[in-house]
């Protein structure tokens, strides 16, 4: 009993010691960050970030694509169909064996010799020419 009384009296004394008091600004700081005090416009935000990410990816992809196109042109190792319409390569025309046969003065079935002769000359597409200009030149040759 005495032991219990002494423990109880010690406990009482301990409890009666002054307690710590938290400053009022702690509560204010917490309320400033409270979810119930946040502005309501946050609802639109979930869509903004994914759209921005998507746009960034598109821009990066286009950039890579453009770069790959330029690299292919520089190496000259590309099939004709892979060239974008906006870009015009420099192509060196190499006369084929067929044209040599056609150049034979005795062989001129359709009056093509003049045309062929013109074609035999180095056919260069100037850098910067668009396909439409190319087509116009070819049509001019055909006429």
């Amino acid at each position: 009993m005495e032991r219990m009384n002494s423990e109880n009296s010690l406990e009482r004394t301990l409890r009666n010691l002054p307690s710590e008091k938290v400053p009022a600004d702690v509560y204010d700081r917490l309320q400033a960050k409270a979810a119930w005090n946040r502005p309501p416009v946050a609802h639109q935000r979930p869509f903004v970030i994914p759209i921005l990410i998507l746009l960034s990816l598109v821009v990066v992809f286009l950039g890579v694509y453009e770069f790959m196109g330029t690299a292919r042109v520089a190496t000259g190792n590309h099939p004709e169909e892979s060239i974008p319409a906006t870009m015009s390569p420099v192509i060196a025309w190499t006369p084929s064996a067929k044209s040599e046969t056609v150049l034979n003065a005795d062989y001129d079935p359709g009056g093509l010799s003049s045309r062929v002769l013109e074609m035999e000359s180095a056919f260069e597409v100037r850098f910067g020419d668009s396909p439409t200009m190319l087509q116009a030149e070819i049509m001019k040759l055909d006429s």
């Binding site: 010690l10 406990e11 409890r15 010691l17 002054p18 710590e20 938290v22 702690v26 409270a34 979810a35």
Partner: protein, 176 residues
Amino acid sequence: MENTSEIRQIVTLYASDPRQGFDLLYRVFANRLATYLRRSFNLDSDEISDIVHDTFLPWVEKPDKMKSVDNPASYLFSTAKYIALETKRKMGNTVPDVDAPEPAFPFDSTRIDTEMVISEALSLLPDEQREVIALKIWGDLTFEEIAAVQQVSLQTAASRYRYALQKLKEKLAWKE
């Protein structure tokens, strides 16, 4: 027990209205947490304020998540303990200072002596014994809640408390 019904009231209110529930939670536990931190870890007022702030922060920022907490008392004190230990670790001081902390309020000299003497005696106890006294006396936790905070069995928490009181009495030369 009054403590249990108080906890139940806080949990119920917080689940239905986090704003009011938090107000009640803060009113009941803020000063208790601060006193526990002072007595158990001998931290200064600024550190205590920061730890109390960080302890309550999830309750205002993520009420949907905190609604699932069954016992806010043991959760709050466990969180405060973890942050306090981290604070002490960063300070490079895991052993509490022997010097008595400054009193929270101005009071007469006899009480100042008692406060200082008891604080000094508390600081000489092992960490877990000092903590169990702080949790029981100033945190006003049940032994079940203390066991959850200290991560020991209920029996260990209760016997640790009795042994800590006995040692404190010896150090204080406590007379009945």
